[in-house]
Symmetry: C2
Subunit: 270 residues, 2 copies
């Protein structure tokens, strides 16, 4: 039986309550926000609020990507969004992919004051992640095998030991998991590697991106993503922009897309 920390325990409760592995990616691209919201004070917040209203019954978590909030209004929108999601009882995972050294890493780890979990980049090594890992009650998802075409450029390099780099990263993350607060990011576009990694590190929950617009394998994601029932399968654009042509009813389509993904994943859950 896997020992989970408070974040993963809460996530398990949430997954059970809504019977869903779905992570809704809040990539509120300003260029794709519906016309009628663009005049609002904080259009990204106005957009996210409607998406949350329509999807929260199917959401195990929300995953805003920090890239879409990196300006003054963006950070205000993000703070409002996180508070609103929490009000609905849904945890928030900030997809920040941060990794930096010493005092700077500590500064980035302050982001965990506002959210429940974060994604981090392992290229700078253990000490760059310590300020995150030492937040024992939060979740820390280490990038391992990503879902993009170039994911293999570094991650797939064969080490002298015979294993690919991403396998070593998984083993390191497993070693760094002293507090039961570590997960991995493993893309759904590489289903064979998902299965291989699930076997290699049975205790680490996976966040599996790439099942929506990127066309990844939902069956593999639902089967191999969870560790002891706890894991997340993310879709961003496939949910939040499902109603792009629906005008003021855009959020209805988002709610339907979230429900569809939940049901599709549930057909493959153990």
């Amino acid at each position: 039986m896997t020992e989970f920390n408070p974040f993963f325990s809460d996530l398990r409760e949430r997954i059970d309550a809504v019977d869903s592995l779905v992570s809704v990616g809040l990539d509120a691209d300003p260029d794709r926000i519906p016309e009628h919201l663009r005049g609002k004070d904080l259009p990204r917040w106005a957009f996210n609020r409607r998406i949350i209203d329509a999807t929260h019954e199917y959401a195990a978590c929300y995953k805003p990507n920090a890239a879409f909030y990196e300006d003054a209004d963006g950070w205000r929108s993000l703070r409002e969004t996180v508070a609103y999601a929490h009000g609905k009882g849904v945890p928030v995972l900030l997809d920040a992919k941060r990794g930096d050294v010493g005092n700077t890493a500590r500064e980035y780890a302050e982001l965990l004051e506002y959210v429940d979990a974060i994604t981090v980049n392992p290229y700078l090594g253990r000490d760059s992640l310590d300020p995150f890992l030492s937040r024992e009650e939060k979740g820390v998802f280490v990038l391992c095998r990503t879902s993009n075409p170039g994911g293999a450029d570094l991650q797939g390099l064969e080490l002298e030991s015979g294993e690919p780099l991403y396998r070593r990263v998984a083993a390191l993350a497993d070693r760094w998991n002293e507090a039961g607060n570590v997960g991995l990011v493993v893309g759904a576009t590489a289903p064979a590697e998902l299965e291989e990694l699930r076997e290699a590190v049975p205790d680490l929950p996976f966040l599996v991106p790439g099942v929506g617009a990127q066309g990844g394998d939902a069956e593999a994601a639902a089967t191999f993503g969870p560790a002891d029932g706890v894991g997340l399968v993310n879709s961003s654009r496939g949910i939040i922009f499902a109603g792009e042509d629906a005008g003021e009813r855009f959020h209805k389509a988002a709610g339907q897309a979230a429900k569809r993904l939940r049901d599709r994943l549930n057909r493959h859950r153990e």
Copy 2:
């Protein structure tokens, strides 16, 4: 003769004009900003403005680390800081260490609208960096061998080919350098690797962090950092907090520290 793009050509002019390789790291840690500035509207901007006034004669560039500006007031402070540095004729390199996939990477690359160059993380591979690399007039510094203790955890792993991962990253970055806009981040705390990398990729300018508070080797940084005379040696805390005990005269000490580092590096430049 190395072919440089507009960013590196401008940087060369700046290096020649001030006879300096010094990059001043604007890590405006809110907890270390002098008391008398904390009541200001934007304390980080007030701090940076004074640091820029005192150091710009010795600065080849300014390097704010994004970690210290990740909130609403922070982004406003950063924008003001960049504009002010530009007003003094000094280029700005945003130390963001970003790396993400597809549409998200494009969003991060928007940061290059405001600054002249950026640092990026290679773990997600070529396509994650394309939105940066395609800004042919800007500078893109790829993390290669970092100055922190855990830098070797991944970067030093031996590949099946016999080379360490950081060597392969350098070779990949060299291949990605189609526009003459690529540099590498190579820490001063690993002087032997600095020399080895300078030989391996003679055309790529290095940004060398770690000579200040981290105690790296200034001689190796000045000798092996530049490619055809163009390179940067960064100190952050060692300059900007040099006057931490000097009260309202803190910036004078910062100016002296920047001048000292310039002179020390110049003793070892070719």
